[in-house]
């Protein structure tokens, strides 16, 4: 198994910079997600780790060894693509065993390996079957088996669940993570779906326009997003942004809206007067008649135990996650309170989080 280290990695295509100065270390046996919208550079990063793309600058180390210019086949890494191409004329056992046959492994030994792999994936009963008869999920398991059977140092996966419908994707997420726990292989997983990254990964790197905006464990990224981009990309509904103008000084414990003062975690940096954004997660908003931040209910969406209530305020539209037992009328004016210790603040121009008592320990910039 392997530790993967990426140092000052950069990739340009002509004028276009796909990946800019990336640095991260993926611990041996961990599940690492590269998360971001299409075109953010996540797949290019993955392809450089695989050796399918050469970096313009920087280094890639596998277990401390520089493999930057080594060919893909010599890196001992398995790549799992979004669309699984199985060989239709072979049965499941032959499909899984194919990489071993190419290596020239003895048939007896190869059979053992295939069986062991099938056992891990819980598809032993399918080994004799034709691939054309398989369900979507089983095809995926067979394709994974073909990647696993060589016992590579690491798995690289590029949106392997992208083509599946929502319900099945949730199921496969669970299966992939459980498989990872059984074999503890270092995994780099590329996705644009924050649910997948949050549900599966030990650590997430959120990418935007070729740059890594934040790296951290899922809860850290959710609780203390380093930028407005991250705050908006993670969570459903995403973090609310309330826009206002103010200056900040270290020690401040409140911010002033035109008609209200809002308690915040203690400020740890000075900020000249300018446009700022208060970031509030939907579950940290409550209604209170007397609260000074006022808004008008635009809509309420019932979701079972909770409801999402959309409220128009002077600072922008916000969505609150509230118990569904609360009666809400469209059009009524409500007061909003925020859980002060869970708030984020951003510089509206740069989008970067402002240091506060809760953000002080967070990895910054």
């Amino acid at each position: 198994m392997a530790q993967i280290r990426v140092e000052n990695l950069r990739k340009s295509f002509d004028q276009f910079t796909a990946v800019e100065d990336s640095n991260f270390t993926i611990d041996n046996g961990s599940f690492f997600a590269l998360l971001g919208p299409s075109g953010c550079g996540k797949t290019t990063t993955l392809r450089m780790i695989a050796g399918l793309e050469l970096p313009t600058d920087g280094r890639i180390l596998l277990n401390g060894e520089d493999v930057t210019f080594r060919r893909a086949a010599e890196r001992d890494i398995a790549f799992v693509f979004q669309l699984f191409a199985l060989y239709p004329h072979m049965d499941v056992e032959q499909n899984i065993g194919f990489p071993l046959k190419c290596q020239g492994m003895k048939r007896r030994e190869a059979r053992e390996r295939v069986l062991e792999t099938a056992r891990l994936l819980r598809i032993e009963h399918l080994l004799r079957g034709k691939t054309s008869k398989l369900s979507g999920g089983d095809r995926q398991r067979v394709a994974l088996g073909r990647a696993m059977v060589r016992r590579p140092k690491a798995f690289l996966m590029d949106e392997p669940l992208g083509a599946l419908d929502a319900e099945f994707r949730a199921l496969m997420c669970g299966e992939l993570r459980e498989l990872h726990d059984r074999i503890s292989a270092t995994t780099v997983y590329v996705t644009h779906d924050q649910h997948e990254a949050m549900a599966m990964a030990d650590r997430i790197a959120v990418m935007n326009a070729g740059r890594i905006e934040q790296i951290g464990v899922p809860q850290e990224i959710y609780d203390r997003p380093a930028s407005m981009f991250v705050a908006d990309f993670i969570g459903s509904p995403p973090m609310n942004f309330l826009h206002f103008e103010a200056g900040l000084a270290p020690g401040d414990r409140a911010v002033k809206f035109p008609h209200a003062s809002v308690a915040i975690p203690e400020i740890r940096e000075a900020k000249a007067p300018g446009p700022l954004v208060l970031g509030v997660r939907p579950e940290h908003i409550r209604f209170a008649d007397a609260a000074p931040v006022r808004g008008r209910v635009f809509g309420a969406e019932y979701l079972g135990t909770t409801q999402i209530v959309t409220v128009d305020t002077e600072q922008g539209q916000v969505k609150a996650r509230l118990p569904s037992s609360l009666a809400v009328q469209v059009g009524e004016v409500v007061g909003l309170t925020f859980r002060s210790d869970a708030l984020s603040l951003f510089d509206a121009q740069t989008g970067v989080a402002i240091r506060t008592a809760t953000y002080a320990s967070a990895g910054h910039g």
């Binding site: 997420c173 726990d181 809860q219 809509g299 969406e301 079972g304 469209v330």
Partner: protein, 341 residues
């Protein structure tokens, strides 16, 4: 707007019974959502109401008038399809005006202009009226498609999964918009979908349909809190409701004839292990951000519940499980009312 009533409507296609003995009424100004998987009979129901299909038996009335034998054109219905079918060579304005310019209607051009502008305003596409239909984003195109139904003032709008081709963010936005427009216009809508979130967030009432049969009709809250069967209970709620054989939890008092206990995440709390009670083992934890999904193993069965993300829990840890007002079902999957203790 008008109310629509179906009475014991059945329709077969060869050996397949697409819709069986379907009876329900959509009240004036109501937003009814038929929720079911593909092949449940949702689209057939819409086609029967429009007159594109004739029922084998039963009757359909609109605003008190029996229309069962009437041709589609006379039924005064507007239809919105899953795939927005706009005229690519026409502007947004002309696309919206098209239904009003039908020779059969003879609407004066001034009236058309007024209706089109009002509709565009309502859908927040007023600034795009001069654009070619092909120069719009996916969300704007679907707004125009919905707008083309709205410019008319039909008895009822029938919508067949109109949001399913859009991405998640846009879908969430248009869900809220569509509900707002419906309330503002007082429109009567029958909407079919397989997406439970669309059904729960927009419907005045949800009809859960399966294999051509309407299993339950009620407000989202009624359907979620008081499902009449195991199947209906499994249709609403994310993550899906847990089912446990009653025999596995003898510690819990259940009504007579209970075979299966249905446990939603809010019915299952993780408590301290204090000796007594039922004990499960944490199998895996999934982060959602605002909550954690906790997968638990209990006597060989997997259960899922929600927990605060900052509650310290670890895989393989034993935890106490507390059941709070779960749902009970008999051997046939029918709901059994909880007995009052």
């Amino acid at each position: 707007m008008a109310e629509v009533t179906l009475r014991q409507v059945s329709k077969r296609f060869g050996p397949i019974e697409a819709v069986r003995d379907l009876s329900f009424a959509i009240d004036n100004g109501e937003f009814v959502v038929l929720l079911g998987p593909s092949g449940a009979g949702k689209t057939t129901t819409l086609r029967l109401i429009t007159g594109l299909e004739r029922p084998d038996s039963g009757s359909i009335s609109i605003d008190g008038r029996d229309v069962t034998q009437d041709p589609p054109g006379t039924r005064d219905i507007a239809f919105v399809f899953q795939q927005y079918s706009l005229y690519p060579h026409l502007s947004v304005y002309d696309n919206l005006a098209f239904p009003l310019r039908s020779p059969a209607r003879r609407v004066p051009e001034a009236t058309i202009r007024k209706r089109v502008e009002q509709t565009a305003e309502l859908l927040h596409i007023a600034g795009k009226l001069g654009n070619k239909a092909t120069r719009l984003s996916g969300g704007e195109m679907q707004r125009v498609a919905i707008g083309r139904a709205l410019v008319r003032d039909p008895s009822i709008y029938l919508m067949d999964e109109p949001l399913s081709s859009l991405d998640a963010k846009l879908r969430a936005e248009l869900r809220l918009e569509l509900k707002r427009i419906q309330v503002e216009l007082g429109a009567t809508i029958l909407y079919v979908t397989h997406d439970q979130v669309e059904a729960m967030t927009m419907a005045s009432r949800i009809g859960v349909i399966k294999d051509g049969e309407l299993l339950q009709l009620g407000t989202p809250r009624e359907i979620y809190e008081n499902p009449n069967s195991r199947y209906v209970a499994s249709r609403l709620g994310t993550p899906q409701i847990n089912f446990l054989p009653a025999s596995l939890i003898p510690e819990i008092a259940v009504p007579p004839a209970t075979e299966v206990v249905g446990i939603r995440t809010e019915h299952l709390q993780i408590a301290a292990t204090d000796g007594g009670g039922i004990v499960g083992r944490v199998h895996r934890i999934e982060h959602l951000g605002d909550q954690n999904h906790v997968h638990l193993e209990y006597r060989g069965q997997m259960l899922i519940t929600l927990a605060d993300p900052h509650q310290p829990l670890q895989a393989n840890q034993d935890v106490g499980l507390k059941l709070i007002d779960p749902l009970f079902f008999d051997a046939a999957g029918r709901r059994i009312a909880a007995t009052v203790h």
